[in-house]
C-alpha cells in the first residue's frame, strides 16, 4: 500500500461521505497549512486491521454546526453542542470506515468508538478539504508492517 494509494482512498472517502450523507461538495487538495486556524472539533478513533492505526479528523466548528443541522434536518440554532459533536463523531466514523473498506478489502477491520480529543496533531496520510463553511482535515496513521511484525515476534 503506497502512500499515494492511501491518500487517494482517503480523499475519495472524504468526498463520498460528505456528498452522499451530508450533501456537501468538498473542494479538495488544499494545502494542510491553510487549515486549523479557526476553532475546530477534533475526533480520534482507533482501528484494528491489517495494519491497525488511528484515524483523526478536524472539522471547523462553523462547518460542524451547519453540517450537523443539515444531517439531522434541523435548524442550526436549535442544536446543542453535544448534538453537533455526535454528528462530527459519526462523520469521522464513516470516513474512516470508507477508507478502510477501500484499502483493507480482504481483512475484517474493527473500529473503536470515535472520541472527542482536545489536542491531537493529525499525522500519517492527510487530506484537507473545504466544505463551504469551514475546513475539514482527515488523517489516517497506520502502523507500518515492519512495526507490527516486530511486535508479533517480540510477544
Amino acid at each position: 500500500m503506497t502512500d499515494t494509494s492511501i491518500h487517494l482512498a482517503l480523499r475519495e472517502s472524504v468526498v463520498e461521505v460528505l456528498e452522499k450523507m451530508f450533501f456537501v461538495e468538498a473542494i479538495t487538495d488544499l494545502a494542510p497549512e491553510i487549515a486549523a486556524q479557526s476553532p475546530a472539533v477534533l475526533v480520534a478513533l482507533q482501528f484494528d486491521g491489517n495494519p491497525p492505526g488511528v484515524f483523526r479528523m478536524s472539522l471547523a466548528r462553523s462547518a460542524a454546526a451547519l453540517i450537523a443541522a443539515d444531517f439531522l434536518g434541523e435548524d442550526p440554532e436549535s442544536l446543542t453542542v453535544p448534538q453537533v459533536e455526535e454528528v462530527a463523531k459519526e462523520l469521522a466514523n464513516m470516513i474512516c470506515g470508507a477508507v478502510l473498506s477501500r484499502i483493507e478489502s480482504r481483512v475484517t477491520f474493527r473500529l473503536a468508538a470515535p472520541e472527542l480529543v482536545t489536542q491531537d496533531a493529525i499525522s500519517g496520510t492527510v487530506c484537507t478539504v473545504e466544505t463551504g463553511s469551514g475546513m475539514l482535515t482527515a488523517g489516517i496513521d497506520m502502523e507500518t508492517r515492519t512495526c507490527s511484525t516486530t511486535a508479533r515476534s517480540a510477544s
Binding site: 444531517f71 454528528v87 459519526e90 466514523n93 470506515g97 483493507e104 473503536a112
Partner: protein, 128 residues
C-alpha cells in the same frame, strides 16, 4: 400500517438520521425503538415485539455480529428480519453477515432512498 422498528447504533446522530428516513418513507406511523448496543437491543427485544431490526456492526460490548448470532439462536427472535447498516463494505463482512441471517445490508454512507428501498423490500411498501 404502523410498524415497530428497533434501531441499534452507538451513535445517537445516526439513530436520529435513520429514524427520520423511516418516517419520511411513508412509515410515519411506525414506532421506533432505539438501542445503543447489542445488549440493550436484546434487553428491549425481551420486552417488546418488533417488525424489523436495523443494526450497526461496530458497537462497544455486544456488537452487530454477536447480536445477529444471538437473534439466530433464539426461537422467537430468529424470524424478525434484521437489516445491517455499516461502514464496512468489504465482501468478507457482507457475506458473513448474510450467512448469520441478516436479511438486508446498507453500506454507510447511504442515500436515504437506498434505506427506504431496503425497508420496503423487508416490510412491504406502505399503503395509505
Amino acid at each position: 400500517m404502523a410498524y415497530r422498528v428497533l434501531i441499534t447504533d452507538d451513535s445517537p446522530a445516526m439513530r436520529s438520521f435513520v429514524r427520520r428516513v423511516i418516517q419520511l418513507s411513508g412509515f410515519e406511523l411506525s414506532h421506533c425503538f432505539e438501542a445503543g448496543d447489542g445488549e440493550e437491543a436484546l434487553d428491549l427485544l425481551r420486552r417488546e415485539w418488533v417488525d424489523a431490526i436495523l443494526t450497526d456492526i461496530n458497537m462497544p460490548g455486544v456488537d452487530g455480529e454477536e447480536l445477529l448470532r444471538r437473534l439466530a439462536a433464539d426461537e422467537m427472535l430468529r424470524s424478525v428480519p434484521a437489516i445491517v447498516i455499516s461502514t464496512d463494505a468489504t465482501e468478507n463482512r457482507i457475506s458473513r453477515l448474510l450467512s448469520l441471517g441478516a436479511r438486508g445490508y446498507v453500506t454507510k454512507p447511504f442515500r436515504p432512498e437506498t434505506l427506504r428501498a431496503e425497508l420496503e423490500r423487508i416490510l412491504g411498501v406502505p399503503v395509505d
